[in-house]
């Protein structure tokens, strides 16, 4: 079981992938934040402390 304080940010443009990841990690006891795109991810990173980011590499609208 993971440490209670660990927060993971999952970034993916595919909603299904995002949901699967989120639910899997939540069931492992992590606090999970999710973002469907880069702007949203940056907004979250600016506002909340995040221990780990799991992100899709190739997403639309990202240069």
């Amino acid at each position: 079981m993971a440490d209670d304080s660990s927060t993971i940010l999952v970034v993916d443009d595919a909603p299904d992938t995002l949901e699967v990841m989120q639910r899997n990690l939540t069931s492992q006891g992590y606090a999970v934040l999710s973002a469907p795109g880069v702007p949203e991810a940056i907004q979250i990173l600016d506002n909340s402390p995040v221990d780990l980011v799991i992100t899709d590499l190739k997403m639309p609208k990202v240069s």
Partner: protein, 586 residues
């Protein structure tokens, strides 16, 4: 009627006309018109002269393009006939021509003087046109010979059965110095009328000889052109094989020769022999090399099975030398053209194949990529669902089946992406021997179970290459698995590494069932398989192809049904910069 005919019974009756010499001249010209060969011509002319005159021997000496021809016919049944040819630059015979050897004998010396008008013309022995006749040679012949600056009295004595003879000089074309010589056992055999007739006949004989030669030359030219035309016709036949071409071409040569009835021919190409009808050992041959792109590949040869008189090159004519040189040259051009056409076809086929594979690869990768996301969803949600402890056992079993099916689908997608080079290799320095050995580690058990002996032939001192070791393992495994499946009754599996120019090679060879050409064409096409549904996806060799291509290598396959298959993977010996590049990529 001439005197000699009244005195003697004449064999045959073809010239019993009022103008026998005119008739004889016309017969000679008709004979020339038929273009008969020289020896036959001279023999027939001699026979006709003997029919018209009473002479016992007819000798005809002619010259043509540096060669001397001498024929001698003596009355008899059949006629005794001798024919000699000498070339001025070849062996010289004293018998043949007077100016060559004026001092050899009285007779030759006399002929020499007659030919060069080297005598006192007031003598009654000589006629106006250089004719010489003797009525009775039992008495010595006296005449004044005109040497430069002095006159010499010559006395010639002849022995033998000949009593009278006549020598008529004549001209054939630009070559003067031809002689018609008639000898007779009777005294005073040649009347003035006969001599006059003979002079006319001799002049016509000169014309006939030229005409005969032109006829022969024309006929030879026609034969040569027929041969070349025949060759062009064979070459123009669509779909004709090289063997058929040569077999057809060799038959064209004998009829083009001067003596087709005794001629035969053969052609050699790359150690294969093609012969014309009646081929066998001969007395003389003329050959020309078939040189393709500067390399001798064989020859064209014409053979006379019987001895024939000396001509330009042995018994062959200069024209025949030109002809077989031309035929050999044409064949070389045809062979070269066919070779490059075949190479071009092969290259085009390879390009088409590569192009088809690339198109399929792009399509497959596109589909794979599109399917990957929904598949991720299916797998992910199925795995989540399975975690629900409240699921009934039957549902949880079904979900497990969904998960397994999804995993299978994911494998296929991965392979397609490898094939389409969508998964970049993780390159590093590797030793192919080591890769092979590591790969075989997983396969040995399977091989021995199938009764297959593994033969390792690793090259010593193989240079390292830059490659993705796990992808190379995949290549080896896929090739070996195919090989094992191709040997259901067991066999030998050879794994060989080789060092080649700038490349290293991995060779996987089996002694299995092999593949037909039809199968061979499709083996790299994704989803093509000869295996049962559950045995393979039809992607194994596609993956191999993808990996090898992404390493800048090539793959070559040789296979024959029943004789096994050999796969050769060639990979370039990479540079260190290639690793850096791939590291930067990552």
């Amino acid at each position: 009627m001439p005197q000699d005919r009244a005195n003697k019974e004449i064999p045959g009756d073809s010239f019993r006309s009022k103008d026998p010499y005119g008739e004889l001249s016309r017969e000679i010209l008709r004979l020339a018109n038929r273009g008969v060969l020289r020896a036959e011509f001279l023999k027939e002319v001699s026979r006709m002269i003997m029919e018209v005159t009473c002479c016992d021997t007819v000798e005809i000496r002619t010259r043509e393009r540096g060669r001397h021809f001498c024929s001698e016919a003596t009355r008899g049944t059949p006629i005794i006939f001798n024919f000699d040819v000498t070339t001025t630059n070849g062996r010289l015979s004293s018998r043949i021509f007077p100016e060559m050897s004026a001092a050899v004998s009285d007779w030759e010396s006399l002929l020499h003087d007659i030919l060069f008008r080297n005598y006192d013309r007031s003598s009654n022995l000589f006629g106006a046109r250089g004719l010489f006749k003797v009525g009775d040679e039992t008495t010595p012949i006296r005449y004044r010979q005109l040497e430069p600056n002095r006159e010499v009295e010559r006395v010639l004595t002849f022995r033998g059965a000949i009593r009278s003879f006549a020598v008529v000089p004549f001209t054939a074309d630009v070559e003067s110095g031809c002689l018609l010589i008639l000898k007779c056992g009777q005294r005073n055999a040649f009347s003035d009328e006969t001599i006059e007739g003979l002079e006319g006949v001799a002049q016509n004989l000169g014309v006939a000889l030229v005409h005969r030669h032109a006829q022969i030359a024309l006929r030879e030219r026609v034969k040569e052109l027929t041969c070349l035309y025949g060759l062009a016709k064979i070459v123009g036949m669509p779909e004709i094989s090289q063997e058929e071409l040569l077999q057809g071409a060799v038959q064209l040569l004998p009829p083009a020769m001067l003596y087709p009835e005794t001629a035969t021919a053969r052609m050699l190409l790359d150690g294969r022999e093609f012969v014309a009808a009646g081929y066998g050992p001969g007395k003389a041959s003329l050959s020309a090399e078939i040189k393709v792109a500067g390399i001798s590949r064989g020859l064209v040869e014409v053979i006379y099975k019987e001895e024939k008189p000396e001509l330009d090159e042995g018994p062959f004519l200069n024209e025949e030398r030109n002809l077989i040189d031309t035929v050999a040259g044409e064949l070389a051009i045809i062979i070269e053209r066919r070779q490059s056409q075949m190479e071009r076809n092969l290259l085009q086929e390879q390009l088409r194949h590569a192009d088809r594979l690339a198109t399929i690869g792009q399509l497959a990768a596109g589909v794979a990529h599109e399917l990957n996301e929904p598949l991720g969803g299916i797998l992910g949600f199925a795995q989540l669902a399975l975690k629900n402890p409240e699921l009934p056992a039957s549902v949880s079993n079904d979900i497990k089946k969904i998960i397994n099916a999804s995993l299978h689908a994911r494998e296929i997608i991965k392979k397609l992406m490898v094939f389409a080079r969508q998964l970049p290799p993780q390159k590093m320095k590797v030793n192919l021997n080591q890769v092979a050995e590591e790969g075989l580690y997983f396969l040995e058990a399977r091989c021995s179970k199938s009764g297959i002996e593994i033969i390792r032939q690793y090259a010593v001192g193989l240079p390292e290459i830059v490659a993705d070791p796990s992808q190379l393992h995949q290549v080896l495994i896929n090739l070996v698995v195919n090989a094992v499946q191709a040997m259901p009754q067991g066999g030998a599996l050879t794994i060989r590494t080789e060092r080649r120019d700038g490349h290293v090679a991995l060779v996987v060879e089996d002694t299995g069932i092999g593949m037909s050409a039809d199968v061979l064409r499709k083996i790299f096409v994704p989803f093509f398989t000869t295996k049962d549904l559950h045995e393979g996806t039809g992607l194994g060799l596609s993956v191999v192809h993808g990996i090898v291509s992404s390493h800048g290598g090539t793959i070559k396959v040789e296979s024959r049904p029943g004789a096994g298959s050999r796969f050769e993977v060639e990979l370039p010996v990479g540079e260190i910069s290639a690793i850096k590049e791939s590291e930067e990529d990552g």
